[in-house]
């Protein structure tokens, strides 16, 4: 059984859907995500599906059920990493995924969630400057 990791970044949780998922793994994936969501009170979930070469109806159901469960627990869910080929195949297959919000990449997903990537420079204060206020 593959290990499922849910990564946390502030109020956002990241989940990568592994390739070659089976029923049991799909279920534990959903459970792992919801547990983490309850634990961390995350308000946004980003689900990465870029490792999926094909999305069949089973996989499409796993993705939409997982997204739906997280939405019910009051998080905004965004799917990232859908490839052009997987998209075309999915539509030909007849899956519409109507209630799913997607973003082309992680940056776009963060943008949709209202977050931006900001680099902050770490400043290190010398020790004496910290004790300075107490001197007088």
């Amino acid at each position: 059984m593959k290990y499922i990791q849910v990564l946390k970044l502030g109020p956002i949780l990241f989940l990568t859907i592994p390739e070659n998922l089976n029923d049991a793994l799909a279920q534990s994936l959903e459970e792992a995500l919801l547990e983490q969501q309850a634990l961390t009170k995350a308000d946004a979930i980003v689900i990465d599906i870029s490792s999926l070469e094909i999305i069949d109806s089973f996989m499409a159901r796993v993705i939409s059920e997982t997204a739906n469960a997280s939405s019910l627990m009051d998080a905004k869910v965004i799917i990232v990493g859908m490839s052009p080929v997987a998209t075309i195949t999915l539509l030909e297959l007849g899956m519409r995924m109507e209630h799913i919000e997607t973003a082309l990449d992680l940056e776009a997903a963060l943008d949709k969630l209202g977050y931006a990537l900001v680099k902050t420079k770490k400043t290190i204060h010398p020790l004496d400057s910290l004790t300075e206020p107490n001197k007088k």
Partner: protein, 130 residues
């Protein structure tokens, strides 16, 4: 010809990656490789879900020595399908409950034929041309 018995879920994954590998060898485009692998995944999953045992056969074919394709057969000894017309109708199946992505698998294939007998089993053949 490659024959894969479909017993558990990993066999579905094996069948679709074999279809993909053969398509790759025959020089299929990424799009058509993916269409074929997805159709194989759908139909192999039907065997896993609805029949106790069944198999997938994958075979490269050629027409007039020019046209190159891959033929896949899905044969099971399951309960069979009572109303083929109904299961071939969009919306009867996939998204809501269990399986039967038959109309979808048909759209992803270039040729599709199905025969089924209640109590005996189902046989589906698809062809994807390069």
């Amino acid at each position: 010809m490659i024959s894969i018995n479909i017993v558990d879920e990993d066999d579905i994954i094996y069948a679709r990656s074999e279809a993909r590998r053969v398509a790759e060898e025959k020089g299929f485009s990424l799009m058509n490789k993916t269409r074929l692998a997805t159709a194989v995944s759908e139909l192999a999953r039907n065997i896993y879900r609805y029949a106790d045992d069944g198999m997938v056969q994958i075979e490269p074919i050629s027409e007039d020595g020019v046209k190159v394709g891959i033929r896949c057969r899905f044969i099971d000894n399951g309960p069979g399908i009572k109303d083929i017309h109904q299961v071939m109708t969009d919306g009867f199946s996939t998204e809501k409950s269990l399986g039967y992505g038959l109309p979808g698998a048909k759209r992803l294939s270039d040729e599709f034929s199905i025969s089924s007998e209640v109590g005996k089993g189902t046989s589906i053949e698809i062809i994807k041309w390069k």
